[in-house]
């Protein structure tokens, strides 16, 4: 029997649980901890995915007792848990492993108290010195927290145990600050200790892109420039800035969505088959294709990228204000709430196939998808009338809200004559599989406990993403209001974006 091999796990329904550990949440009284992190950890416990002895330590500046934290989190879990509110017995069991430690984020004494508390938990609950530090704090605090973790010795693992750190986006504001942050992190932690979260990557349907491409033999032979005309990647939101105008003013659609989430999707759709499912095998292929994306020259930005900003309009049956009228937003703001970019990939598979990425707020509806538009059949054998001009085949991978796959085909209308219509073959997750999908944070927290970084963003991917976006961001920063296209809230974005597509192509109306 090999060490750590548990023969009772053979064909178990619940996969192996990770080693006992403690998750330390910096910013424990914040919104992310309450809405996402603790509810996700609770759902994992409920599904028997957490190890016995698993513990949580909340750390923040607020004065609070263990019981006060438990009470705060009980309310949060009851409200936000995707698997429903806890029963008394479940909560008693889960919260018995929940503790609080008060301290400043750069206060060495506070970290010494944290260290002592973690040692107590190791002894009492068998967590063996394994720790995850989750930085659920504003970006400005990442540096001080890492420095103090390093100075207090908490960044290093005792022999036989592990220490990992999870960092939330945004990783930097631009290429320079991202490189500085990554350099800062690497002075204190090794790269294999660092988990940069991109919750989009952990969505069930995003993971299914890899399965769909590489577990189905029918797609790979046509997944190239010979058969594919272009690819559209869309992440549309119906909501506006939702009271976070101040944050969004310093961000915008490119920083918020395209630089990270949509580029990740591009990489998954465009990458070569990995040699294995090992974390770095997949991430190596993803970075290879990202590096093959042709950088947009400063003088070509206007032909390859369009930015927009929503004005007052009508969404979901309600009148909504324009972006410049939102709270915390400058009346002269030039921040883009919509961005569309045309990228090309310089490799044998994709040469000449444009990838169109777009994301925006206050669009017609919430929808995220990848649409692979195939070329028209080489000979239009069946075209007899205008009405028979059917559209070419299309494969749509829907990410939200209607997760699934749609394949558009041409079919004959019933009757003696040959008339064609496009029909859809649909597969919908929610309909075919009754089981609840894991929330992205559940998956990511568990992967981090297992030490599996596949769904986390590696340093080189972050920096490549920024380097592709910098010419666009720089050009727009220089342009002021020039080239900022306004669109009415509730529409599919500015008309100027249509010009990116070129003749014979159009953005999909989702």
């Amino acid at each position: 029997m090999a060490n750590n091999h548990n023969p009772l796990r053979e064909e178990a329904r619940v996969e192996r649980t990770p080693s006992p550990c403690t998750v330390v949440i910096f910013g424990a009284s914040g919104d992310l901890a309450k809405r996402k992190l603790v509810p996700a950890l609770f759902s994992l416990a409920r599904e028997r995915r957490l190890p016995g002895g698993f513990s949580i330590v909340g750390y923040s500046r607020s004065a609070m007792s263990d019981d006060a934290l438990r009470s705060l989190m009980h309310e949060a879990v009851a409200k936000f848990s995707s698997s429903g509110p806890p029963t008394a017995a479940e909560w008693e069991s889960f919260s018995a492993g929940m503790f609080y430690c008060q301290g400043g984020y750069d206060d060495v004494a506070g970290y010494e108290r944290l260290k002592a508390r973690l040692a107590e938990i190791d002894a009492e609950r068998g967590t063996s010195g394994n720790r995850i530090f989750y930085l659920s704090t504003p970006p400005s605090l990442i540096g001080p927290i890492m420095d103090t973790l390093g100075a207090s010795g908490l960044a290093r693992s005792a022999p036989g145990s592990w220490t990992r750190i999870i960092i939330e986006k945004p990783i930097g504001y631009d290429l320079k600050t991202a490189q500085e942050l990554n350099a800062h992190v690497s002075r204190i932690f090794d790269e294999d200790q660092v988990y940069r979260i991109d919750h989009y990557r952990a969505k069930e349907t995003v993971q299914n892109i890899v399965v769909m491409r590489f577990a189905n033999g029918i797609f790979e032979p046509v997944w190239n420039r010979r058969y594919i005309d272009h690819i559209q990647i869309t992440a549309a939101e119906a909501v506006g800035v939702e009271g976070r105008g101040g944050y969004y003013e310093g961000s915008g659609a490119v920083r918020d969505m395209l630089q990270n989430h949509l580029l990740q999707l591009l990489a998954l759709v465009g990458m070569e088959p990995p040699t294995s499912l090992e974390a770095n095998a997949i991430r190596d292929e993803a970075i290879k294709v990202a590096k093959a994306v042709r950088p947009i020259a400063p003088d070509a930005v206007d032909a390859h990228a369009v930015r927009g900003q929503y004005t007052a309009g009508w969404v979901g049956g309600k009148a909504v204000p324009g972006y410049r009228e939102e709270e915390g937003v400058s009346p002269a703001s030039t921040t883009e709430t919509y961005a569309a970019i045309k990228f090309e990939i310089d490799n044998w598979r994709w040469a000449g196939v444009p990838f169109y990425l777009r994301s925006g707020k206050r669009m017609t509806k919430r929808a995220a998808e990848i649409a692979v538009q195939f070329r028209q059949a080489p000979m239009r054998l069946f075209t007899t009338t205008e009405a028979d001009l059917h559209e070419p085949n299309l494969l749509v991978m829907k990410i939200q809200p209607d997760e699934g796959l749609t394949l558009r085909l041409a079919a004959k209308l019933p009757g003696h004559a040959i008339h064609l219509r496009s029909v859809n073959m649909d597969f919908r997750y929610g309909t075919s599989f009754g089981a609840r999908s894991s929330e992205a944070y559940e998956r990511l927290l568990l992967d981090c406990m297992f030490g599996d970084p596949t769904l986390f963003t590696r340093r080189d991917m972050v920096e490549t993403g920024w380097s592709l976006m910098m010419p666009i961001l720089n050009r727009w920063a220089e342009s002021g209001e020039r080239h900022l296209h306004f669109y009415e809230a509730g529409t599919w974005g500015p008309e100027a974006a249509d010009a990116l597509m070129g003749e014979g192509r159009a953005w999909r109306r989702l």
């Binding site: 548990n6 023969p7 178990a12 006992p20 017995a89 008693e92 492993g97 068998g126 809200p401 075919s432």
Partner: protein, 389 residues
């Protein structure tokens, strides 16, 4: 939220025209929807589920279970009733549909076919059903009658299906059918894989016990175990050691490489099993537990002890809650070291829930077959012990 309804009244159809009638049924459903503001009904099918029963009065009850299963595993369900002793030779069929609302409130529908084979027509039951199976999808056969495993009309199905599901619930080592079932499963060379809902009931026990040893510093304790106790809900009326408990004992022994040395029936409800492991002996006791409030013969607790210092004890116990859920408490206690207790609430194991899990599995289960083989050896030892006594 999910509701179940019939789009159309269940109606009797000509057996030979079932497919055509089903097409008509879906057309009618689509037309009804076209006139309304609702979305069209969606017909979904991921697998074929065949259920065999011997009591015609159970059609409705089984149909309800099938409707529950279709919520997580949309399927074409074919419920088969067979009665070879019926005075008339006839086959009848009915069709209906089950619909439920999916997570986005769309109506998802699956079809149900009922076939009743009376008298001599039961001989052709498999042949009647074969054309009704949706092609290219896995076929599961839930055979609810353990007494007919040797019948030709059962054996005929084995070349048509991928997996046969039975249920040995309630059987004890004293039931001849328990050993017969085990031999049948282990010796079958047919295409179909076999499984037992009683084994599926053990799944969460296996998961919970395995989880106790996942921590790297505890995994080695599996090689130090010397005492194991399996408790089951008492059932004074039926003597014998429940097959479910024997399967779990067999699972531990087979997975941990223990060799059976001796098995003794201490009382009609209690057995002691002695195993030899690599460098030690293991005593495994199966005993009843009163006041568990669980269904008779259901597992109530498992304790595994490694006595070599520092002594370590690992346990899982189950009790029902006030509602329909069951509460599981797992604990690890190490003398002089760390300890913890965890409480998990899980829904009680209904047939629908068990079957929903069962239809997710394809192929043979090696741990099940190894556990069953070991259970068969234990039964043989217990019988020998009884004869010698």
């Amino acid at each position: 939220m999910s509701i179940v309804e019939d789009i159309e009244r269940r109606r009797q159809v000509d057996v030979a025209a079932i497919e055509r009638e089903l097409t008509e049924l879906w057309k009618a459903a689509a037309e009804v929807k076209e006139g309304s503001a609702d979305e069209a009904v969606m017909r979904v099918c991921l697998l074929n589920l065949l259920v065999f029963i011997t009591d015609e009065a159970r059609f409705g009850e089984v149909s309800e279970v099938v409707a529950k299963i279709t919520e997580s595993a949309p399927c074409r369900a074919i419920i088969l009733y067979g009665n070879p002793a019926a005075p008339t030779d006839e086959t009848q069929a009915w069709i209906a549909s089950h619909c439920h609302l999916d997570d986005r409130m769309r109506q998802v529908c699956c079809e149900e076919i009922r076939v009743a084979a009376r008298g001599a027509t039961i001989r052709y039951l498999a042949r009647t059903v074969a054309p009704l199976i949706a092609p290219d999808l896995p076929v599961f056969l839930w055979w609810q009658d353990l007494q007919t495993l040797g019948e030709k009309y059962f054996l005929d199905f084995l070349s048509e299906v991928d997996r046969v599901i039975m249920d040995s619930r309630g059987l004890t080592h004293r039931d001849g059918v328990a050993a017969q079932l085990a031999s049948f499963v282990l010796e079958s060379r047919r295409r179909a894989a076999f499984s037992d809902l009683n084994w599926t009931r053990l799944t969460r026990w296996r998961d919970l016990v395995a989880g106790l040893f996942d921590a790297p510093d505890l995994t080695h304790q599996l090689q130090e175990l010397t005492r194991v106790t399996i408790c089951y809900a008492n059932d004074d009326e039926t003597p014998g050691i429940p097959l479910q408990a024997l399967l779990l004992a067999g699972f531990f022994a087979a997975q941990l490489g223990w060799t059976l040395k001796d098995a003794q029936e201490v009382t009609p409800h209690q057995a002691e099993l002695r195993f030899r492991a690599r460098r030690r002996r293991v005593m495994l006791t199966i005993e009843p537990q009163s006041d568990s409030r669980l269904p008779p013969k259901e597992l109530a607790a498992v304790t595994l002890v490694a006595e070599r210092p520092p002594e370590a004890s690992f346990s899982v116990a189950c009790r029902p809650t006030e509602g329909t859920d069951w509460l599981y408490t797992t604990s690890v206690e190490i003398s002089g070291g760390a300890r913890y207790h965890t409480t998990i609430v899980l829904p009680s194991l209904t047939d629908a829930r068990l079957m929903s899990r069962e239809v997710e599995i394809f192929g043979r289960s090696k741990p099940y077959e190894r556990a069953l083989r070991m259970a068969l050896d234990i039964i043989a030892e217990l019988e020998l012990d009884a004869q010698l006594a």
